[in-house]
Amino acid sequence: MSMIAFKVNGRAVILDVDPSTPLLYILSDDLALRGPKFGCGLGQCGSCTVIMKGQAVRSCVTPVSSAAGSEITTLEGLGSSEKPHAIQKAFVDEQAMQCGFCVNGVIMTAKAYLDRNPKASEADIRQAMANVLCRCHAHTRMIRAINRYAKGAKA
């Protein structure tokens, strides 16, 4: 066990944990956050994605020790039902999900990518989403929502 400190959605967190624990478990169990989710535990699907140092990170394969001193943003850190972030609003406006379980990975991956590549084309966006899964196959609406956000962000 060791003491690890980082920030989640602007809130300081200090934990005495096994440093090898994947960050996801800390976020979803210890901190009871609902955005990042366990989908595969293998870094293959995207459901556990959080944004750390501006990068989309798969928290299920990221040891909590590597988060020390970092600023972490989760899906709930972007906005709320009442005050959604523009990308979240685009997903609501497009009704771009079915069961919604994957939407954390889709939104966080897209946002981190577009933050760094604001001029991305639709082909670039698709490339960035090439390792994100949605088993309901709401792909069409999701890509539309991401494009809607990207256009708005550019404007």
Partner: protein, 760 residues
């Protein structure tokens, strides 16, 4: 999270209505077909503040049903949408509507029965009360936003709350209660946004995965290495001293670990030394279809048998034959299955993503050795299910572990445990034969299929139908061999085993959608080496792939246009309409399918069509697919889908579109990519590298949907129509592009290349 009884719940929600335990036990109450309670108070209550609390036994699975049902209640009662609070699937609160499956929720709850009838019965009762109060006939009354007024004298008005707020109706459902006419709809039939989506998009939605109980522990299971393995020994010392371990739990072949933290449970489950007996031998994957064809015993069924098929085949100008192969596929839910159980002091509460709360109550009680009255199942949404994923089995896992430690336990399966042990969608072998006359018209159709079965939904009494039940000592449902098949006694096409083009005549009555009179459909179920269960459009997708591919083959053989040829053999006007609508929107150019590629290398293009009346009576769909085929790589790229769909009256056009779009892409992923694999000992599709659905960034087709609204028709399902027709439409388009017929799913580049290489 507080555990509420229905009575407590109603106290807090301000309504006083009858509890299910106090309701007269009608014969209907325990039926598993969704008929459920005939007591109005079991379905809805008017609260003192004028809001409505409604109860449904059909749950949200990501398909928008929660919102659609809320629309239904608001519409029938003429109250604002946001004045309705819908409570779904809780054995202490809601009617027993069996299982939410098979695209049956609309047929059950949106026609003259169940939830819709409850709304209509309540509205009539409220009008009758107002009629008495004002001394005018009910037809002189109007209602808006839950306030009834006298026509032409708006000073005379009374709210629902004043009439019955917080009181019981004490009425049985009136089977003749008049539903509101669709022409008067203002909420139903409109694209109301889904209620859950804002919370889902912002990480606030509570899935079953987010349920947290005070003192809750975390469990993991240790599954056997393969089918047929039984437990020899567990070495508890192998995890001795691990942080947070609470207990190693063993019950017959069921092994699990409970720990304080999920990561502790995960690590301990990986390290726990368990010795298993060797498993049973598996058939070679490359030979699975021959295995199915030759497996004995069989359960044989005739769906139709006009008894002149051999004779007509002998008389035909030409006989065409083909065999189609379909693999095992998996639900592969995106989030692994999860449940939270609290089993202590002789009571069990299970938060579960099950599609079947009442059946689960019954089988969980068997598993726990408790009375079902002591078991309370509360539905919480899980990751999209598409049929029986791990929802029931993980509910058993959590229940067994919680019972062993006497504390609440949450279990979320690992990716491997989810994939290696789920109830897979059915593999199939299908032989088709058709005879055509000298004019090219089909005069006889002969269909014979083989498909495997083991386990399935546990229903009310078979926990052994899923892995945890089996490990805990229950057997899967016994295989009921039957050969030869008896003659059919009435026509049903729930599995779409009968092609759309035959008359479906049994005992002189025709229930099919086509004109061909000589018809034989014989199916053989055989025992599966793996668990099987309903996967989105079970058997219907596989059969439709074979039927719609084969019709296309015959059309090509007689050089007919595939749309015209379909229309020539169909008799059902609504099926004809969806075919025409899809073709029209796709600008389908009438011509015979090309029997050869324009050139042998590079990219060639083609178009294909397929259609279905899902389950024989539950939704019409036709799809046109346009594809590019790269003949050098074997890669199929689908460029466009046009989907025409008729569900009867449309509850929510945007929700319907979402289902059709998702269904079509799900079908595309399964047609091109998906196949469960195994070696001689075990399943090898255990993660997203070894089972590969279409990722979000994939090259996907443009999609157009044509929604045919039929307000006066019966409401039917929409969740499984598009997924059913995609594979055939793609295969037909590939044939049009290349002259090569793909008869085995998935259409992987390797398989396409191999077939292209066979061209002479």
């Amino acid at each position: 999270m507080k555990n509420l009884s229905r009575r407590d719940f109603l106290k807090t929600s301000g309504a006083l209505i009858v509890t299910f335990s106090l309701a007269p036990e009608s014969a209907l109450a325990q039926r598993l077909d969704g008929a459920s309670s005939n007591q109005l108070d079991g379905w809805l209550a008017i609260n003192a503040d004028g809001t409505v609390t409604a109860y449904t036994g059909k749950c949200e699975l990501g398909h928008g049903l929660y919102t659609a049902q809320t629309q239904l209640v608001a519409e029938e009662l003429s109250v604002p949408f946001d004045h309705v609070k819908l409570i779904q699937c809780d054995t202490a609160l809601t009617p027993d509507q069996g299982t939410t499956s098979g695209a049956q929720s609309h047929p059950t709850n949106f026609n003259q029965g169940s939830l819709a009838l409850a709304g209509a019965t309540a509205r009539e009762a409220l009008f009758e009360m107002a009629s008495k109060r004002f001394g005018v006939a009910a037809d002189q009354l109007a209602v808006k936003d839950g306030v009834i007024s006298v026509k032409g004298d708006t000073a005379k008005k009374v709210s629902y709350a004043e009439l019955v707020g917080d009181k019981k109706f004490n009425l049985t459902l009136n089977t003749r209660a008049k539903r509101k006419s669709p022409s008067d709809w203002t909420v139903l039939g409109t694209p109301v946004p889904r209620i859950e989506i804002p919370a889902m998009a912002t990480g606030q939605f509570e899935y079953v995965h987010n349920v947290r109980l005070p003192g809750m522990l975390h469990g993991q299971v240790v599954r056997p290495p393969t089918y047929g393995s039984t437990l020899v020994s567990v070495d508890e010392n192998s995890v001795k001293g691990f942080a947070g371990i609470v207990k190693v739990v063993v019950k017959k072949d069921f092994v699990g670990i409970v720990a304080e933290k999920p990561w502790q449970a995960m690590q301990a489950a990986n390290k726990l030394k368990v010795t298993w007996s060797p498993g049973s031998a598996l058939p070679k994957q490359s030979e699975i279809h021959d295995y199915l064809r030759n497996k004995k015993p069989t359960r044989d069924t005739f769906l139709v048998n006009s008894k002149d098929v051999d004779e007509k085949l002998g008389q035909a100008a030409k006989v065409i034959k083909a065999t189609y192969h379909y693999p095992y596929q998996m639900h592969g839910s995106f989030g692994t299955s999860c449940a939270v159980a609290d089993v202590q002091s002789g009571k069990a509460t299970i938060y579960s993503p099950t599609q079947a709360v009442y059946p689960l109550r019954s089988t969980a009680a068997m598993l726990l050795g408790m009375q079902q009255e002591s078991v309370h199942i509360i539905f919480r949404m899980g990751s999209g299910c598409y049929g029986i994923n791990g929802a029931d089995t993980v509910s058993y896992d959590a229940a067994l572990l919680s019972q062993a430690v006497g504390k609440p336990v949450r279990v979320q399966l690992t990716r491997k445990d989810e994939m290696a042990w789920e109830n897979y969608g059915l593999a199939f072998v299908i032989d088709q034969r058709a005879g055509v006359d000298k004019d090219g018209k089909i005069i006889v159709w002969d269909h014979e299929s083989w498909s495997p079965t083991l386990g399935g939904r546990p229903g009310g009494n078979t926990p052994g139908n899923v892995v945890t039940g089996l490990l805990a000592g229950f057997q899967p449902a016994a295989f009921a061999a039957r050969s030869p098949a008896p003659d059919p006694t009435n026509f049903g096409n729930g599995n779409n085993a009968v092609p759309s083009y035959v008359s479906g005549t049994v005992n002189g009555r025709s229930g099919g959608t086509g004109k061909i009179r000589s018809e034989r459909v014989l199916t053989h179920d055989v025992q599966s080496p793996f668990f099987t269960g309903p996967l989105r459009s079970p058997a219907r997708l596989q059969n439709t792939f074979a039927h719609e591919s084969f019709l296309d083959e015959v059309a090509a053989e007689v050089k007919s246009d595939p749309v015209e040829y379909r229309l020539r053999h169909l008799s059902d006007p609504r099926l004809i309409d969806v075919v025409k609508a899809a073709a029209k929107t796709a600008n389908w150019e009438p011509r015979a399918t090309r029997a050869a590629a324009a050139r042998r290398t590079g990219v060639v293009s083609g178009r294909g069509i397929a259609c279905v009346l899902y389950e024989g009576d539950n939704g019409f769909c036709a799809i046109v697919a346009e594809v590019d085929v790269n003949q050098d790589t074997g890669r199929i790229s689908v460029k466009r889908f046009v989907i025409a769909n008729d569900v009867g009256p449309i509850s929510n056009p945007d929700g319907l579109k979402n289902q059709l779009e998702g269904g079509a892409l799900h079908g595309l992923s399964r047609a091109l990519n998906e196949e469960v694999t195994w070696d001689d000992q075990k399943i090898t599709s255990i993660d997203w590298r070894t089972y590969r659905p279409l990722p979000v960034g994939a090259d996907i087709p443009s999609m157009e949907t044509v929604l045919i609204n039929r307000p006066e028709a019966r409401a039917t399902g929409a969740g499984e129509t598009a997924v059913t027709v995609v594979a055939a439409a793609i295969g037909n388009a590939v044939f049009d592009a290349t002259g090569v017929r793909l008869r085995q799913i998935p259409f992987t580049p390797e398989r396409v290349k191999a077939e292209l290489a066979k061209r002479t």
